[in-house]
């Protein structure tokens, strides 16, 4: 029996579950390696050569080189691991989050100052009003 995933209908969201973690193992471990200053230096010197040291898929490597965070997450990356990558670039969580929403940095920062993104209509795909259509069960 397949794992129950009541969260698969949450829009714009990938839950880092066992399946994602399996897909993203090497991508995430590559990110962890950037916690060491020597590795950060080597990565910055030649990014392609450094990612080639890791048994990632070519799609994952392209995602890293392009800093395409939505793509990396789709391919099994987790945001706290990916944080080592954007920290190596000197970028913040807010910068990176904004790039994933398709909004400009300024528009995203303004949205946060105004109280953030509303949950209304964002709880599940097809949510009409007040969670009427969202599955509430599951663990």
């Amino acid at each position: 029996m397949a794992l129950e995933k009541p969260y698969s209908d949450i829009p714009g969201t990938v839950i880092f579950d066992a399946d994602q973690a399996r897909k993203g193992y090497h991508l995430n471990q590559f990110c962890m390696s950037l916690m060491k200053p020597d590795n950060r230096t080597r990565f910055k010197r030649d990014e392609r050569a450094y990612v080639d040291e890791w048994p990632m898929s070519e799609d994952q490597k392209r995602g890293v080189l392009a800093r395409d965070y939505n793509r990396m997450i789709e391919l099994g990356g987790n945001i706290y691991f990916l944080a080592k990558l954007f920290s190596t670039d000197g970028k913040s969580f807010q910068y990176t989050a904004a790039t994933m929403t398709g909004m400009t940095q300024e528009a995203y920062a303004t949205m946060m100052l105004n109280g953030g993104r509303s949950p209304e209509g964002n709880r599940c795909v097809g949510e009409t009003s007040a969670r009427a259509g969202c599955e509430k069960e599951g663990k």
Partner: protein
């Protein structure tokens, strides 16, 4: 005898640590946030706790995907601030309490909670940001800390119910420790936030505040909330809130709320903070 006197809960946003470390806490963006902790710093200096059992989650700093413990307790004498990709935070070493930590480990394992024992571990912003919020920037932290790391990164985290019950088991463990210690339990993380994907930036102020009400007055029922509600209502990272239930479980059924604070935003996150004292 050791006794648990109070619980502290707070969000642990990394940008808060960066603001403090880079001398930006008086800037208009950060000032209201730090103002919410002024009372807390005075309160904790009056309370003079000896030890905090500090419930937090590691953010891929001490634990890679090689080993992912659901609950892990730090039993060492010292924990270094982790290098999370931009160098370690310039904060003091965190001093542990190996005797009480080992006692808690043994006691709660015998109460059916299979904790992982950690004897070497660096601690990241999840632990050090709450320390900074409560103590500012001292040369040395005025408290010893037992890190209790909870997996909330790899889904599923432990259930709210399991966390609440673990808090009760920790309470029994501390109550049976012979040394005379003033112990606090801290729960950290949350509140509503999502750091990834097109839905990033989700904040749910009404839900957060209702959740805080229930944490204080109706924690037993709150502990039944399934993960899916956290994910839908409080964002993919909002599920960190289950850690606050460990803190709450370690306190009396009825508590005094001595401080409550809520602020949006800190970077991508809604910041919540409560201080609860055991009543009796």
């Amino acid at each position: 005898m050791a006794r648990i006197t109070a619980g502290v809960a707070t969000s642990h946003v990394p940008a808060i640590g960066a603001a403090l470390d880079n001398g930006r806490s008086a800037e208009p963006y950060w000032k209201p946030l730090f103002a919410g902790y002024e009372f807390s710093k005075q309160w904790v200096s009056r309370q003079k706790p000896d030890v905090a059992v500090l419930v937090y989650n590691d953010h891929a700093s001490a634990f890679s995907l090689d080993i992912v413990p659901t609950f892990a307790i730090g039993c060492s004498a010292a924990f270094q601030p982790a290098d999370e990709g931009w160098g370690p935070r310039p904060v003091p070493v965190v001093e542990g309490h190996p005797e009480l930590a080992s006692h808690i480990a043994q006691s709660v394992i015998q109460q059916d909670f299979d904790l992982t024992i950690i004897n070497r571990m660096d601690v990241d912003h999840g632990l050090t940001v709450p320390m900074s919020l409560m103590f500012g920037q001292p040369e040395r932290w005025p408290i010893r800390v037992i890190p209790l790391a909870v997996n909330v990164v790899l889904f599923p985290p432990p259930s709210g119910r399991r966390c609440f019950e673990l808090g009760k088991a920790i309470r029994r463990a501390v109550d049976s420790f012979d040394e005379d210690l003033n112990v606090q339990v801290w729960g950290t993380g949350g509140m509503s936030h999502q750091l990834q994907g097109p839905r990033a930036g989700l904040i749910n102020k009404e839900w957060d505040n209702r959740w805080l009400d229930r944490l204080i007055d109706d924690p037993d029922a709150l502990a039944q909330m399934p993960h899916i509600e956290y994910l839908r209502e409080a964002g993919s990272e909002g599920v960190e809130l289950v850690m606050w239930l460990i803190m709450r479980g370690a306190l009396d059924a009825k508590v005094r709320t001595v401080h409550r604070f809520y602020h949006v935003p800190a970077s991508n996150t809604a910041v919540g903070h409560v201080i609860l004292e055991n009543g009796s």
